[in-house]
Amino acid sequence: MAGPRHISVSEPSRPVLPRHAKLRYDETRQVWVILAPERVLAPDEIAVEVLQLCNGERSVGDISDQLAAKYAAPREAILTDVIAMLQDLADKGFLTEAREKTS
């Protein structure tokens, strides 16, 4: 069996969209979409911004730092929101985690 499917998102997690979920701008409908097997999700503006930062290298903590600085908002509140959104995506099966390097 491959890596664990069900990830639990926390501050040190380094999330990334799996190969089968693609974040793309839909020119026709003028919205961002996540294309996934048999699904098209419409992430809201904040979710898009978070997902664009999810590259498998940045941690959830790093992402929250960046957003807190950009919006001059309390980091704790942002961290809570980011974790909730990413966990929701993970529960739907559209988020994975960069694996620890073993070598």
Binding site: H20, L35, D44, I46, D88, K92, G93
Partner: protein, 396 residues
């Protein structure tokens, strides 16, 4: 069968930062281009499943669109705003140009899904498809046990081959959906099917009870489950969904004969779905050609696909609510289920504009429900296998 097609999946939630887009679109006033399109690129298939969703009148290979014609279709779909395409059939891998078509679709920016019986795939072919940009593989299974599975498929060795291809799919890092079509003769294997999907490292499982049109209608007496079987099936699915949350997502389609309300078939005729047949007909539903008296336009005509979707007579005939008769016409649910399935209404009542008999308000509902119940308790287990000759009765 794929299920962007109006089957309930994730419940819509206004506060959800990750809303499912088609749920919003389905309530739109305008009939915008669908997000996903089903491409039945051939009706050829080595399997002979008695519930095949293809029409009983199959398109022969000589009528199929050419490689260049399919490529033109794919480019056009991407251009008008379609986001996903499902390569289906028949068996899509029976076409030698599948890799080329997947590549063309990917290059055009489309998300590509392969819906396959898997029996014709080699590891090399699968790897070529992955390299061509294929995003997702959906493999049909007929059961978990070899003799039953191969018997339903009408193809010796099918089950073993499917298991092998499912393993290769994960080895080349493609996401896998296990598609299990359920009926009276295999529902007892449902717990093992769920376990099989987990063991195969699938991301999704579709537990799809047979829908009774076309081939399945011919085979209804051999396939119809009992009410007790169905209740057990629902219980097992609900339990597994809870237990496997985040590991395996399970889509569930129930047979509408035992429901009181009909399904919102295809999300409503001409509202959020179309498919293209092997010969290039643009259809509101993959069974639509079973309705006589409708003239379906082809991609080979002078009209664009967008024009056919918006303006053709076949799409507008049962679109919205204006075509309805009573009891649909004044029904409070008319914009919720759009009177159910037009193909089923036609097959069972002779008029596609009648209320789908799956609805308790149809005058035929009671008769049909009783008949289904009798058939479910009956002794008929022999299949009529799907083929180009119009079907062959299983030997005893």
């Amino acid at each position: 069968m794929s299920d962007l097609l109006g089957n309930p999946t994730i419940p819509p939630d206004a506060s959800d930062s990750l809303a499912v887009l088609e749920k919003q679109r389905s309530t739109a006033e305008t009939f915008g281009i669908p997000l996903a399109v089903l491409l039945e690129i051939t009706h050829r298939c080595p399997l002979q499943c008695p519930y095949c969703s293809n029409p009983v009148e199959l398109d022969r290979s000589g009528k199929e669109l050419t490689t260049e014609e399919w490529k033109k279709v794919l480019s056009e779909l991407a251009e008008i705003g379609v986001l996903q395409v499902h390569f289906s059939g028949g068996e899509p891998t029976a076409r030698k140009d599948l890799v080329e078509l997947v590549k063309h679709a990917s290059d055009a920016g489309l998300y590509t899904n392969l819906i396959t019986s898997a029996v014709l795939l080699t590891r090399e072919k699968l790897s070529d498809l992955a390299d061509a940009g294929l995003c997702h593989v959906q493999i049909s299974f007929q059961g978990t046990e070899i003799s039953l599975s191969d018997r339903v498929a009408g193809y010796k060795g099918a089950h073993g081959k499917k298991l092998e291809v499912a393993k290769w799919t994960r080895e080349v890092d493609l996401p896998l959906t296990v598609n299990a079509v359920m009926h009276r003769q295999n529902l007892h294997q449902l717990p093992e099917i769920i376990q099989m999907a987990v063991d195969l490292d699938a991301d999704r499982l579709e537990v799809a009870n047979v829908q009774y049109y076309g081939w399945a209608l011919k085979n209804r007496a051999a396939l119809m489950p009992t009410v007790a079987q169905l209740e057990e099936c629902t219980r097992i699915v609900e339990e597994a969904r809870e237990q496997l949350k985040g590991r395996l997502s399970i889509d569930y389609v129930v047979p509408d004969y035992y429901a009181l309300r009909p399904k919102k078939c295809m999300g409503g005729w001409g509202r959020q779905f179309f498919n293209i047949s092997p010969a290039g007909k643009v259809l509101p539903c993959h069974a639509a050609e079973s309705i006589t008296g409708l003239d379906f336009e082809s991609v080979r005509s002078n009209h664009s696909i967008a024009w056919i979707w918006q303006n053709s007579d076949a799409f507008n005939r049962y679109r919205g609510t204006g075509w309805m008769k009573e009891p649909c016409k004044s029904c409070a649910f008319r914009e919720i289920d759009f009177g159910g399935c037009r193909c089923q209404a036609f097959a069972l009542t002779g008029d596609a504009a009648n209320t789908d008999p799956a609805c308790a308000l149809s005058p035929l509902h009671e008769t049909i429900f009783k008949q289904a119940e009798r058939e479910a308790e009956g002794e008929t287990n022999r299949f009529i296998y799907r083929n180009f000759a119009g079907g062959t009765l299983e030997s005893e």
